[in-house]
Amino acid sequence: MKVVVASTFVPFVEGGAQMIMRDLVRELEVRGHEVDTVELPTSSRWDLVLEQMLALRLLEVSRGSDAMIAIRPPSYVLRHANKRLWFIHHLRSAYDLWGTPWQDFPEGPEGLAVRDAIRRYDTLCLGEAQRVFTNSLTVADRLREFNGIDAAVLYPPLGRPDSFYWEPPEDYVFYPSRITSHKRQWLAVEAAVHVASDVRVVIAGAPDSPGDLATLTEVIREHDLEGRVTLIPRWISEDEKAELIARSLGVLYLPYEEDSYGYVSLEAAHARKPVVTCSDSGGVLELVRDGENGLVVAPEPRALAGALDRLRADPVWASALGERGAEALGEQGISWDRVIDALLS
């Protein structure tokens, strides 16, 4: 089958959508499909969203292909007679983040008009698809709530699961993720103020903006946490990440209402390490069960500090949680065979 895989990206920002796209292309090709890709640059500026949607709608990608799989918004507005969606999130400012501190649309009639136009156009274009899948129950629920569209869940498997491994835990928990406000690395830093043990926090990831990095470094400096918090403010290689996960007590993933479980959680499970997350972290809660294969705490520093102390106090227990995380992976049926069969069925 000739398949176009379409997505969008912000130049120079490495994100989960690009990993999904690369992995999907490779897995399609491994199974004998002919694949070409269309990756379109987009801006998330509220006042540019509608014209970018129009731009994508005007483009021509359908010639010469049997199907198109669209991933990141708003690639689903591209036209194709056989459009399939692996929908990973909405333009969240216009949806579930509306009315939260992360709503970057202005209040008032103009912002509201743009929001409503996006929602209407999304519903129209999403409705053209022959098949709709999401990457999590959380996203499926939002699609049903906001656009009236039912979708099945296809959890994205890792591209190289075998590269994650276990080593005896050292004295730190590890938070690998893009440094940005809604991933809440600041929560991990503030937890370090309240821990009773000598547990350390290691944070690694490229900052979305200089401001995001400055916020974190300011908190570290303010509380004199240089010895307790290690900040690696850059993109780290997969090998580097695997090693830091392998030697950790556990992995932190603390986003606010994240769409999916996040690759970090899956990587931790493959490395047999527990995941610590928050009760409002969204999709990750589909994978992590408190006290079984990880810890789920209230999104506040003292609660998180308590969880970190527990892992540090009992590394054997921490490892047992990690073991059960690996077992839970098998129960979820996460595999590329399942993903490709569903997307092209």
Binding site: L40, P41, Q52, L54, A55, L58, E60
Partner: protein, 333 residues
């Protein structure tokens, strides 16, 4: 520097090799480079204009500079754009051929293409053209001066010369149908000793063989499928006597590859001032099938001349600084 390379392609038809190779070269020189491959397909005249508009509506964030390579991708706005016009609007219209046509809609589309291109080129910081011919076309059509910056092959090192033992190789873009017919006409004018291997798209092989038979040259012209990529072209070039280019641009990529393989180039058409192909130095430039037949005779009978033209072509590459480091230096200047 953070650089976004703007390229366009028809999915499953174009492979965006130059853009990807340019990104590699930029990274090798310490830059951050992102390849932005935008879809562009011509299925009707009107849709060309739609897609031009789409490009104008896109936004490039975080890039310090945009490097535009192909129409219409280079219409994407950016305040600091350098254009290296590897495919101009005129070329895209040429590839679209009959789909655009000469009627009122076709004329209107042509005007729109040239107007958009004129606006964009004049807003760019610098404009480079891949050959003297393209630079002349840009000057004539949109009044824009362009410096010539020849695109090197993806991997120049794979082009080499084994010998000059085989016949002349006729090679060019897949859409160059009229040029293939002119090659057959030229062979018909040459002596019986001339041997030519001509590559053509699979769909055209049958018709070309029938034509070769009708012209009485079937025993002298071997018509083979178009090589799939640079490696296959390098293999065909290595033992060839010379290249008979089917590219209307005498300094197109096939000529550059031939010069890397130390092969002279035969051009049936025009080669203006400043071209790499120079008559009697790096090949032969002739204007009629009869003259092309005579040039084929010369190349066949005089191996030393073929070798001399090849050496001339190879020197022209060095004199013209045709290399990836030169490309990176120019585009990041």
């Amino acid at each position: 520097m953070r650089l976004a390379v703007l390229d366009s392609h028809a999915p499953f038809a174009d492979r965006l090799l130059a853009g990807r190779r340019l990104c590699e070269a930029l990274r090798e020189h310490g830059h951050e480079a992102v390849h932005v491959g935008l879809p562009f397909a011509v299925d009707s005249a009107e849709r060309i204009v739609d897609q031009m508009l789409a490009m104008r509506l896109l936004h490039l964030e975080r890039a310090e500079r945009a490097i535009g390579l192909r129409f219409p991708a280079y219409l994407v706005p950016h305040e600091h754009t350098v254009l290296w016009a590897l495919r101009t609007g005129e070329r895209a219209l040429g590839e679209a051929g009959a789909l655009v046509g000469g009627g009122s809609i076709g004329r209107s589309v042509r005007r729109s293409v040239f107007a958009a291109e004129r606006t964009r080129l004049h807003a760019a910081r610098t404009v480079y053209a891949p050959s003297a011919g393209v630079a002349t076309g840009l000057q004539r059509r949109v009044g824009c001066s362009a410096e010539v910056l020849h695109p090197p092959p993806d991997d120049p090192g794979r082009f080499h010369c084994e010998s000059y033992a085989n016949g002349v190789l006729a090679l060019g873009p897949s859409w160059a149908a009229p040029q293939r017919e002119r090659v057959l006409a030229a062979v018909a004018q040459a002596h019986r000793a001339v041997r030519v291997t001509m590559a053509a798209p699979q769909a055209a092989l049958g018709d070309l063989r029938v034509l070769a038979d009708r012209l009485g040259v079937a025993d002298r012209v071997e018509i083979v499928p178009q090589p799939a990529g640079e490696a296959e072209r390098a293999q065909l070039l290595a033992p060839a006597r010379a290249l008979f280019t089917l590219d209307p641009d005498p300094d197109g990529p096939f000529t550059i590859e031939a010069f890397h393989a130390r092969k002279g180039v035969l051009v049936l058409g025009e080669a203006g001032d400043g071209t790499l192909v120079r008559d009697g130095v790096s090949g032969r430039v002739v204007s009629s099938p009869e003259a092309a037949g005579a040039a084929l005779d010369e190349l066949t009978e005089d191996a030393a001349a073929a070798e001399r033209y090849g050496a001339g072509g190879y020197s022209a590459l060095h004199d013209g600084h045709v290399s990836w480091p030169s490309v990176v230096a120019a585009l990041t200047r």
